[in-house]
């Protein structure tokens, strides 16, 4: 980081936060602090929803994922438009008409208090864990750039996010997200243009795409079905739909965003904007990772992208021969890549086939060396299952991007995470205060009392997230870890809301037991099988619904005599 990078970084961050705090003036009631007084326009909500997902993890981990595994991760988002349509058609108007602060408040109107409490606790567990991961990511960025310990940078980032969130409430969070998304879009375009410009002059953009494709890095759609395969079109369409239904329909961190809308139409438009924009955006980010892969065909990358771990194994006796094999494999891959490009230009299909084979074989040798280096890290006392996926893009940014652009990209990563973290902490505080504190601890407080409680709860969840972040580095690829943690809990939440909206005779006790059964099924699947985590949401949801329906129709007295409307206000409780 040079002085110009620091100037760009500090200016971008300070101006984003200052703008958010400026727009949050007057957040002096619970309604304004937690729901922005229901005054937000659709574009602010849309960009805020997008910014919440596009955290630092998106940049750090998704690009790394593409570098090592190709672009097939984009299929994970195929279920998003389907989920958005379902939510807009069903959930959004119901939540608006129910006039609730949280999604779980609605469950008490539809079922009973214990179902609301269980859903709230499940959310607090799940989102509390994810909030730690979100704060860990920019701490990782700063530790790589500054050379500071990850723990110190995580605490520093966490303190900044907590202060900002406690002061500003959801209005500050939303308006700063708008600024952040503008910076993010700019940063993405500049990153892609820069990596393409940095390619050798003999390699055109078309050649780069050819080389990325030949190495299997442009595998955006894979149609082969496998229960254990995380990313294919089927897991994306089915598992992804369930996950996003749960995320946008049952997760307060998202529900709270569109509850701030001034009308149902504004909330719907904000979600549908995401349905249209999210997949191309993820494709774009993954494509940057694929282009970084091509860049490193011509500039030798380090054997491991995490310098600290590379230093750890450098002194081992096994390292020199490994390094020699790595150098040879890199030279062979580079030679094969150039030969492949030449054969393609000459329209020599026989040579193209031959050089593609050479190129892929050299890539396999490099993969083998990197895998062995990771094992060496474990043997040398490093973390078990070590992976450097999260360091690939950072390493590229800090070494090769021009001065000024480095500061901008780092600002994008940090600012995005600040918004994601602040949104999560804000929603955790909302559920803790509205669904637990106001419901079970202190029922008759003044508005000012609950405003203060919300600020204290925000502080508590911020500290909790920072503490958990200390453990996050052991979870491998962050983008996968975040969604895996979510999938452990989302299925049972989704099942509960499916019962609320689609099965009007089901009552509270049956739903409560169904949720316990669903959560047990998910945990059993995670512990005892190798089924991919994307399917946890489907399994949990199906078990919740099946169990509740079985109880409803099998046990006398649990069925509602009259169908209960999904829109509350007129129906009986329990």
């Amino acid at each position: 980081m040079r002085p110009l990078d620091w100037i760009v970084l500090v200016t971008a961050l300070v101006s984003i936060i200052a703008y958010g705090l400026y727009r949050s003036r007057g957040s002096n009631t619970v309604d304004r602090y937690l729901l922005a007084g229901k005054t937000m326009p659709w574009y602010a909500m849309a960009l805020s929803i997008m910014a919440t997902q596009a955290s630092a993890i998106t940049f750090i981990s998704t690009t790394g994922q593409s570098f090592v595994d190709g672009m097939r991760f984009v299929q994970f988002y195929f279920g998003l438009p389907i989920a958005m349509v379902v939510i807009c058609a069903t959930v959004v108007p119901v939540f608006h008409h129910a006039r609730v602060y949280t999604a779980y408040e609605y469950l008490e109107q539809r079922f009973d208090g214990k179902t609301r409490a269980l859903a709230s606790v499940i959310f607090l567990c799940q989102r509390g864990l994810s909030a730690g991961l979100t704060i860990y990511a920019p701490g990782l960025v700063l530790s790589v750039i500054l050379g500071w310990p990850e723990r110190a940078t995580t605490v520093m980032m966490g303190a900044t996010v907590i202060t900002y969130t406690v002061l500003g409430g959801i209005k500050a969070v939303t308006w700063s997200d708008v600024q952040q998304m503008i910076v993010i879009f700019a940063g993405l375009v500049i990153s892609l243009v820069t990596v393409i410009v940095l390619l050798p002059s003999s390699v055109s953009f078309g050649d780069a795409v050819l080389l990325a494709g030949a190495a299997g890095r442009l595998n955006a759609v894979t149609t082969h079905f496998d229960w254990n395969d995380r990313f294919n079109i089927w897991s994306g369409l089915f598992g992804g739909t369930f996950l996003f239904l749960a995320y946008f329909g049952c997760d307060q961190s998202q529900v709270q965003r569109y509850l701030t809308g001034r009308s149902i139409a504004q909330s719907r438009l904000s979600l549908l904007f995401n349905a249209v924009a999210k997949i191309p955006m993820q494709f774009f980010i993954l494509f940057i990772g694929a282009m970084v892969f091509v860049f490193y065909l011509f500039v030798q990358p380090p054997m491991l992208f995490q310098q600290a771990e590379l230093s750890r194994i450098r002194g081992l006796s096994e390292f020199p021969p490994l390094a020699q094999r790595y150098d040879q494999a890199f030279a062979q891959r580079q030679k094969a890549a150039l030969a492949l490009v030449a054969a393609h230009h000459a329209c020599d299909s026989a040579a193209e086939t031959r050089e593609t084979g050479e190129y892929r074989a050299a890539q396999e040798r490099i993969n083998g060396v990197r895998a062995q280096a990771s094992l060496l890290v474990e043997r040398a006392g490093g973390e078990k299952g070590f992976t450097d996926t999260n360091y690939i893009f950072l390493s590229f940014v800090t070494r090769y991007l021009p001065v000024g652009v480095v500061g901008l990209v780092i600002a994008v990563i940090i600012a995005a995470t600040m918004s994601a973290s602040s949104g999560e902490i804000n929603s955790l505080a909302t559920v803790a205060v509205i669904d637990i504190y106001r419901r079970y601890v202190h029922r008759e407080g003044s508005d000012h009392h609950y405003l203060l409680a919300s600020r204290w709860a925000t502080l508590f969840w911020g500290v909790y997230a920072v503490v958990f972040a200390g453990w996050a580095g052991r979870l491998g690829s962050l983008i996968v870890a975040v969604n895996k943690v979510g999938s452990l809990f989302y299925g049972s939440l989704l099942g509960c809301f499916v019962l609320a909206f689609a099965f009007r005779r089901v009552r509270g006790t049956a739903t409560f037991v169904g949720m316990l059964a669903g959560e047990s099924a998910i945990l059993a699947t995670a512990v005892f099988t190798d089924v991919s985590w994307l399917w946890y949401n489907v399994i949990g949801c199906v078990v919740v619904v099946a169990t509740a329906l079985a109880i409803t129709y099998a046990v006398p007295g649990t069925i509602s005599a009259t169908p209960i409307s999904a829109t509350p206000g007129t129906q009986p409780r329990g």
Binding site: D31, P81, G213, G216, L218, I264, L269
Partner: protein, 44 residues
């Protein structure tokens, strides 16, 4: 408090009805998957 005001619903700003907007989104999803499939097969 959130319960103190009415929540208006409106028609979408394009395609006249929400049902048409939803259909448009699903058609868009099919098209984007087809484009990605073509992309994958072309550069495999």
């Amino acid at each position: 408090m959130p319960g103190t005001r009415d929540v208006p619903d409106e028609a979408p700003p394009f395609l006249r009805t929400w049902r048409r907007v939803y259909a448009g989104i699903l058609i868009y999803l099919v098209l984007i998957i087809l484009v990605f499939y073509w992309f994958t097969e072309t550069y495999r």
